[in-house]
């Protein structure tokens, strides 16, 4: 009886894993990262899903094999005085389970490398460029026309948004000014580190109006958790008027910033 219960507990625990990684929503959480709104983020998402296919198959296969051993080959299930066959190995089967994983990982590596070449090189056809520099503890976004958005850290997440127009290919240039920070908005794309000493690059092209949250992902000191990020995508008209407002403010600086 207890053995059956144990087997059931084990089976439930094992079965839970693919479901957790599956697309189901649990209590407001998206177990797979939030729906990406930029093509590079979408490619990451797709790569993640494709890796999941062999991963889940291997997971279920190996756990099922383990469960089978637990249920079928335990000593109490074997005949009394059962002497197992003294097998020392089998070259054919060992070659097979070397070659098949090799092919699988080469496939995953090839697919990933393709995405890497496509999305992770500095782009040259950007419609706009913004320099993002990280400091303890906040971000500055320099639009290259004198306009700079200062995003000072606060834990609540209600920081001044970094505003970009929708459907515009924006090149992001990252600079570190003190320690290493990492700019991460999960809904847009992966992380890019802002390292002192050289420029690092990423890009975004957001396809819808909205606001997305993120935060610094590299431990950077006591205020690390406050380095929140807000990215707001506006359509081109709204963005232009926002930009004009900023430029006007720049031309006549008010004494109270």
């Amino acid at each position: 009886m207890t053995r059956v219960v144990r087997a059931l507990v084990a089976a439930v625990g094992i079965a839970a894993f693919p479901f957790v990684l599956g697309a189901c929503e649990l209590g407001g959480l998206h177990p797979i990262f939030p729906n990406p709104v930029s093509p590079n983020g979408q490619d990451i998402f797709t790569t993640y899903l494709w890796i999941s296919v062999p991963a889940i198959i291997i997971f279920i296969g190996v756990e099922a094999a383990l469960l089978w051993v637990v249920l079928r080959y335990r000593r109490s299930r074997q005949p009394a005085n059962y002497v197992p066959p003294q097998v020392h190995g089998n070259t054919t089967i060992e070659v097979v389970w070397t070659i098949i994983p090799l092919i699988i990982v080469l496939g995953i590596a090839g697919y990933s490398f393709n995405t890497l070449l496509k999305d992770f090189q500095p782009i040259t056809n950007a419609q706009m460029e913004v320099t993002i520099s990280g400091h303890q503890f906040g971000w500055d976004y320099d639009y290259e026309n004198g306009v700079v958005v200062h995003q000072e850290g606060t834990l609540a997440g209600e920081v001044t948004p970094f505003v970009v127009p929708t459907n515009t290919l924006v090149k992001l240039r990252f600079r570190g000014t003190d320690v290493i920070h990492s700019w991460w908005v999960p809904a847009i794309s992966g992380k890019t580190d802002a390292v002192p000493g050289y420029d690092n690059f990423s890009w975004l092209k957001i396809d819808q109006v909205g606001t997305w949250h993120g935060e610094c992902a590299e431990l950077c000191g006591v205020g690390h958790a406050t380095m929140q990020i807000n990215v707001q995508a506006m359509n081109q008209g709204d963005f232009d008027s926002w930009m004009n407002q900023k430029k006007a403010a720049l031309a006549s600086p008010s004494p109270s910033k």
């Binding site: 990262f33 060992e94 990933s112 834990l155 999960p186 000493g197 006591v222």
Partner: protein
């Protein structure tokens, strides 16, 4: 009376309570091994307490159990303690105890180096914790990335300096131990103990020692350069220098360190599984080859920790490919272990339960490793709770479960007494459930966007998951408490084990429990990689005479 065999002179005693002068001066690899292991377990408890405070702080949004500076010190101390002072040290201890016996030697090749190497460990540990008394210990994570550890951003205390010194001492100790292991295994094998007959645990120790010999020095170099920066004003890793160089040096050690912590575990699993399945290990030679495949590959993958720093895509592609290739030898080992149990007569003793717990959970760590190796996916998952989940599946589901299997398997040999079975069962199930409850759902937190190492968070959507994690982490603590109770109780009152309670295969089971200081009265003949099984089958295995209670 005079005609019967003389009782063995009891020149040693088998209790833990020996004169302190003996503990301080012994060169016996077994006593040194026990001291390593006790140090490791103490570190496990200390590191666990750090983790529990961290979990309390994160259990709900916007908590202030500790302030952010203390929090950063706690996560750093948790990582350093668990990695440097618990897992590596404990594994060195178990190898120190077992490797000489398993190869049929009387002691390590350099007993006094062994003594010195061990005593550097407490020095290293005390150096690290001394940082707390200088205004704060290391607060930049166990990786201590520059420039955050540089004087410009970290001048309020000597925590970083004490950490760097501690790690330098630790690396020297590790290099001593590795040299000693390799020499012992090469030079002191018993007659008949060819390399092709070495137990797989010994092979694992060979590969681990090679790794530590290669990567220990770069680690020390990174720490020395960091100290130059901090105390002599050089500019190696400062904002004006090359901060990423630090990451290269650190991870050239840091990634192989993962294997230093898991390969001995693989070795222990390779000992435990055949014994309880009553079958020889499946594919002995491919197991050895896989170990060396991992050794080689693990030194070519370090930059996979750095996919977000902005490297050339072809360089990233290289590190991605090499990282994924590690799945192949690891897969070979997995399949061989499963094949060993297939058609077996598998006895689920507590060590075997832990071995299966290891197989079931380490698999998840291995699979998430493939996701993390893929550069595009890694940029999303890197430095998030997904990585925390992954590394705990590898280090806890991997190393700790194998260590638990090793403890339950070898405790009878080390103390002469069995660990309590019932407590052991409870220990396993609470650990298995607590571990998965803690770390399985951490994957979703990371996918959802929660970075690691944040002192607190405002996002209400993460609250429920974090609460479950915190509750489960206390189940782990309960389980570790059970282990400690079991060890203390069984050491004094456990059932007498006898020489060979498991009907095992390797040489340590051919001597008494615990073994005499010289290990063997007569080194048994070695005719295959399962010498004790050969002796048992040919009827040559003689149970050593029961020791008189008080000689």
């Amino acid at each position: 009376m005079a005609t019967t065999a003389l009782p063995r002179p009891k020149a040693y005693d088998d209790t833990f309570f020996k004169p302190i002068s003996l503990w301080l001066t012994t060169t016996d690899h077994k006593l040194i091994g026990i001291m390593y292991m006790v140090t490791g377990v103490l570190s496990f408890v200390i590191g666990g307490i750090f983790a529990l405070i961290v979990r309390l702080q994160l259990s709900q949004p916007n908590l202030k159990v500790v302030d952010p500076e203390t929090y950063n010190q706690l996560i750093s101390a948790h990582g350093v303690t668990m990695i440097f002072f618990f897992v590596t040290i404990f594994l060195t201890g178990i190898a120190n105890y077992m490797v000489p016996i398993m190869v049929g030697a009387r002691d390590m090749a350099f007993p006094r180096v062994n003594l010195l190497g061990f005593w550097l460990v407490p020095v290293s540990i005390i150096l690290y914790y001394s940082g707390f008394f200088t205004g704060g210990a290391l607060n930049a994570g166990w990786t201590g990335y520059a420039p955050l550890t540089e004087k410009a951003y970290n001048s309020h205390s000597l925590g970083v300096d004490f950490w760097a010194l501690s790690i330098i001492v630790w690396a020297i100790s590790g290099i001593m131990a590795s040299t000693n292991f390799l020499t012992t295994i090469v030079a002191l094998r018993a007659p008949g103990m060819r390399f092709s007959r070495l137990p797989l645990f010994v092979w694992a120790q060979i590969s681990t020692s090679i790794l530590l010999l290669v990567v220990g020095a770069p680690l020390a170099a990174a720490m020395i350069l960091l100290e130059f920066d901090r105390q002599l004003g050089t500019q190696f890793f400062t904002t004006a220098g090359r901060p990423v160089l630090y990451q290269h040096l650190f991870w050239f050690f840091g990634h192989p360190e993962v294997y230093i912590m898991i390969l001995p575990g693989f070795g222990m699993i390779s000992e435990v599984i055949p014994v309880f399945a009553r079958k020889p290990i499946f594919g002995y030679m491919s197991m050895v080859a896989a170990l060396f495949g991992i050794v080689f590959l693990s030194m070519t993958v370090w930059a996979h920790h750095m996919f977000t720093v902005g490297m050339n895509v072809y360089v990233e592609g290289f590190f991605m490919l090499m990282t994924m290739l590690i799945a192949v030898p690891t897969g070979i080992k997995f399949f061989n272990w499963i094949a060993t149990t297939w058609w077996g007569s598998v006895e689920f003793t507590v060590p075997m339960k832990f071995a299966f717990g290891f197989l079931a959970t380490f698999l998840i760590g291995g699979l998430t490793g493939i996701y993390l190796a893929s550069v595009p996916v890694d940029t999303q998952l890197h430095q998030s709770y997904y990585v925390v989940a992954h590394l705990h599946y590898v280090l806890f589901g991997g190393s700790v479960f194998t260590i638990m299997a090793g403890i339950y398997y070898w405790f009878p040999k080390i103390t002469g007494r069995m660990l309590g079975h019932k407590l052991g069962e409870w220990n396993f199930w609470t650990l298995f459930i607590g571990f998965n409850g803690t770390f399985l759902i951490m994957h979703t937190l990371g996918l959802e966007g929660m970075p690691r190492r944040i002192a607190t968070y405002a996002n209400e959507a993460w609250a429920a998951t974090n609460l479950i994690i915190t509750l489960s982490s206390f189940l782990i603590a309960f389980s570790v408490a059970l282990l400690l109770v079991n060890i203390v109780r069984s050491w004094a009152h456990g059932e007498i084990a006898g020489d060979d309670p498991w009907k095992a295969n390797t040489l340590e089971w051919a001597t008494s429990s615990p073994p005499p200081p010289y290990n063997f009265e007569r080194v048994p003949p070695v005719r295959s990689f399962m010498p004790v099984r050969d002796l048992r089958e040919s009827g040559e295995l003689v149970e050593s005479e029961p020791l008189p209670a008080h000689a």
